[in-house]
Symmetry: none
Subunit: 245 residues, 2 copies
Amino acid sequence: MRGNVTDGPVLKPVRKERVSRQVFDQLKEQIVKGQWPAGTKLPSENELAKQLNVSRVSVRSALQMLAALGLLETRHGEGTYVRELSGDLYLNALFPLLALSKTNIFDVLEYRRVMDPGAVVLATERAEAEDLAELERIYHRMEVDKENYKAFAHADLEFHLCIAKATKNPIFIKVNTIIRDILNASMEGIVRALGIRDGLHYHRQILQALQDRDPSRAERLMREHVDRTIQRLREEGGEKVGGEA
Amino acid sequence: MRGNVTDGPVLKPVRKERVSRQVFDQLKEQIVKGQWPAGTKLPSENELAKQLNVSRVSVRSALQMLAALGLLETRHGEGTYVRELSGDLYLNALFPLLALSKTNIFDVLEYRRVMDPGAVVLATERAEAEDLAELERIYHRMEVDKENYKAFAHADLEFHLCIAKATKNPIFIKVNTIIRDILNASMEGIVRALGIRDGLHYHRQILQALQDRDPSRAERLMREHVDRTIQRLREEGGEKVGGEA
DNA sequence: CATGGATAGTTGTATGATAACTCACATGTT
DNA sequence: AACATGTGAGTTATCATACAACTATCCATG
């Protein structure tokens, strides 16, 4: 048939943008364009809903997405604030890439083997009293939870994350946070396979080196620690530990 | 006063985790552990609310956050699905809109200072012929684009990413990919500030070390390279480099 | 067989109410 | 005056319910 209407692609699909999405975009604009610099307290949800002429549900929806992306921070009973725009924000994109792909445990440990010794060196220079106190708290929790593999594994990951935090470098912190989240699933199996002796030993020594502000010793210990973990896991046959999928 | 209660920090703050956060964590676990592989259709919001014994609002809150992070995709009137991992980053909507501050750039470079020497060591062991060929291609492009700062900066970042690729470790690759995107905006300014001599010099030497399969030399050169970049940038006063937004 | 429409299931939005939390101010006690 | 305590307003978090908007499927009708 000639002149069929399907020939010409004239009609475009109508614009049907969700309300929450529109709110999201508007708020994002304000932040990114710098109208609302870091630290700004946003109008209350009720206020925003009134100004935008939408329900509070839609406002909350947009706010929560922005908070998930790291642009906003909501404080219960206090308000919603604009966060500092920094490089670690983009690292959020790393999370799904690692979470959704079947990441090999040895790949993660190999990465740790490079990053954690470097991190601990920076930590010996920059750790504040509260960082060291936190590390001690975590270490003691590991001693207490000797029998509870799940709790022990969790504390182990927290220990490494805490060292990253002590570097005061948001990139170290963010990446380590993501790695902790990913590893959380398999860490219990690793602890169960390797036992707790090595972990306790090295963590205590590393903590000591941090307290003594001895970077080279801390670095050496951390490298040994990760190396030994990798080596022993290889011997055990690491196929079993990761596999709950 | 003796026996003051404030002496002993015995009482710990009670656990007060938000409902939506708990839902978020549970759903995240399912995805990360692989219980719900990509493409899986989640139970309906009502169903989840009933199973978890929370309101639909809390479920939606968690789902929307996961969707914002890119782990889920909600289709109006159809359902919610675990997202297929599609290489490219969806967070890119925000990328061009942010100019990094001076501190951010140094944070990134500090991270590089640890990561890249470690990566290049692995690369000397694992780089295949095509990796080395690619590196040579990139290096030659740098020589050609001596005058074009933008192209030169781009090639510089590609060089580092290519080394990461040669490690065959997906974590190195993905982190380096994101860092490349972060630096892309500011890199031209950096090159303009520091010139191209150092870059060409070190990249050529590192390439040579890789071809010779000399890990310790490659590591030393890479560390020197990043160190020198940081140092010279400090001297220049890096305030200027970030600004295009 | 093709068309169109009814239908059930799902996500999106609206409304109103209540709980939980934070801060600042007022109040009372020493 | 100094400190502890209570009280209230403002804000976010959660709940329950209803309805709107959208999608896929099935089915009757021509």
